[in-house]
Symmetry: C2
Subunit: 345 residues, 2 copies
């Protein structure tokens, strides 16, 4: 007998056993660790878990091949806080002084005059047309590279008015868990937002693990050209290609993804068509809406269920009734979530 050969065989067996132990430990972990730990037991959590089982169990009649597993998420109000005002609008207001400094002729012109005054009452009274002027002035006329630098600089400094924290900390822990749970089960997770696609892409990867190519948002045109050194640049133009809200959401999904989602998540009337389009597909489809009914931990607004009627993220009672009637699931922030933010005690 050759002792060297024996040792070699022993080494192989030990290696194999070690591999087996690692493999079975991983299997056990995947099978036993409970998903969605920040969700209370109940119909919302159950709906998610049942949907995932139905669409990923190969023996299920509703099994969905991995390539077709698409889940879409609204952002403002669904993945993070949208009150008292969308973060992107705060960003645009913050850019006005720089825009006015570059073009002093705008100083005495509305709505820039009002924004420069900083008067909260006048700011709250800005019309939709005023906002369009502010957005065009602060989001376009610059290169895509410079825009990214500007947004990153703002994100590093800006704090929300309630918790005095960076906006990227205002994401909902249960929704972060849901994103991961779906991805762990082979779903490709997309953001489908009324917000600017370029704006959300700056932080989506770091904040949600969602890469730029999986962010669908309101799209403005760009123009390809060259800088003074002949280097190719893309300049953001004040030309709206897609308003990714309401009917624009399924239109944007078709344009950017080209497949109907199996699951869609939103929180306001602007998400209705996306959820409706999702549910209209065959097989198991999941449509869920976050109801902000938690004034203590976040904000409370509807006006569904007698909640206050506010400006951002409207959720009317007839929308609530429509959702229930159509088999959509409404998530009560107050009752379904153990925790809202990671920074909570």
């Amino acid at each position: 007998m050759n002792p060297g050969g024996r040792n070699q065989k022993l080494a192989v067996v030990v290696f194999c056993l070690a591999t087996l132990v690692v493999l079975s430990a991983r299997t056990t972990l995947a099978q036993t660790s409970e998903p969605l730990p920040s969700w209370n037991s109940g119909s919302a959590r159950n709906a998610i878990v049942e949907f995932v089982h139905a669409t990923t169990d190969a023996s299920s009649s509703q099994f969905v091949p991995p390539a077709e597993r698409i889940a879409t998420f609204d952002q403002d109000g669904t993945l993070w806080t949208e009150h008292p005002m969308y973060a992107q609008l705060v960003y645009c207001l913050s850019r006005v002084p720089a825009v006015v400094a570059a073009k002093p002729e705008l100083k005495g012109v509305e709505p820039f005059k009002t924004v420069m005054s900083g008067d909260p009452t006048a700011l709250a009274a800005l019309s939709m047309k005023d906002w369009e002027t502010i957005l065009a002035a602060t989001l376009t006329g610059i290169t895509t590279d410079q825009f990214k630098i500007d947004v990153n600089a703002w994100l590093a400094d800006a704090k929300d008015p309630k918790w005095k924290r960076p906006y990227t900390e205002l994401t909902f822990v249960p929704m972060q868990e849901l994103l991961r749970y779906l991805r762990d089960n082979g779903y490709k997770t997309y953001i489908v937002t009324g917000g600017g696609q370029d704006f959300v892409r700056v932080y989506a990867e770091k904040t949600y693990g969602i890469p730029p190519e999986q962010v669908v948002g309101t799209v403005g045109g760009t123009t390809y050209g060259y800088d003074e050194n002949g280097k190719p640049i893309l300049t953001k133009e004040p030309k709206l290609l897609l308003n990714d809200d309401h009917a624009g959401k399924p239109e944007g999904i078709h344009m950017m993804i080209g497949r109907r989602p199996y699951a869609a998540f939103g929180n306001s009337l602007g998400d209705k068509q996306m959820l409706e389009y999702t549910k209209a597909g065959e097989g198991a489809r999941l449509a869920m809406l976050v109801l902000h009914d938690d004034a203590a931990r976040e904000y409370a607004y509807g006006p569904a269920k007698g909640l206050p009627d506010t400006k951002f993220g409207t959720f009317p009672q007839d929308y609530y009734d429509f959702a229930i009637k159509n088999g959509w699931v409404v998530i009560s922030m107050k009752n379904d979530w153990k925790r809202v933010f990671a920074f909570e005690k």
Copy 2:
């Protein structure tokens, strides 16, 4: 000694050994099988292999994290044959009888009259404006679902005029190998085509392993609405959102992907800005152009290198010189490819 226990242990060891054999066989295969077997040795093949090593070897100064590995491919003339006419134009012509049957008032109207006549000389003389009219009439005004059915039905029947084979068989084997080689090395492969995004998406997954969400093309608007049963539908509109050719290619890449590619492949003047934009990024970037110089196995056209000057896929001499000067690599179909089509003897 418990014979049952012994058998169990034996089974574990046998299972482990079998696992090991499979694992080591796979490792060996991955390490020793040569990539790109249909490419001749030479500067084109070398450029690809060197680029992949430089960007995927973790010890390389030009290493690219997997999430950023984006490669974009023009389609017509780069991945498959574009002569004597783009396949999509043949599709549009084939749809004219159905459009005229549905709207008999078009029968005597140009350019429909010419198309219905089938006269090759008159067809060849159609102007760009005529084509726009034909494209709008045959690609819009129907639901996205119906469009997919129509294109699939056409693909199943249509044969190209030279080899009398389905268009999806006219893909270039070396480019298919290149797609796989890049994907095997963590690259996400995209089509970036001047062709219709919805058209190419119908067959891209089956033909190239490229899913719909990785097809960027010329984009027309859709309108969300409901059919007579109240089911949500998307209708294709004659509204151009993105002309994904020339400067539209980097604009489309920004819109649909949001990252600059590390590698880009084209064959005509319409790919110039995409390759230029790609090469302008930092680190190792690969830009390649297929030159159709193989009249025997496919087609020959330039007019670079004295090749015939034809209508589709123009590759002028000054473009060739510009490419070489800027470190792009020109692929000679005749010299760099052992095989063009899978159906070749």
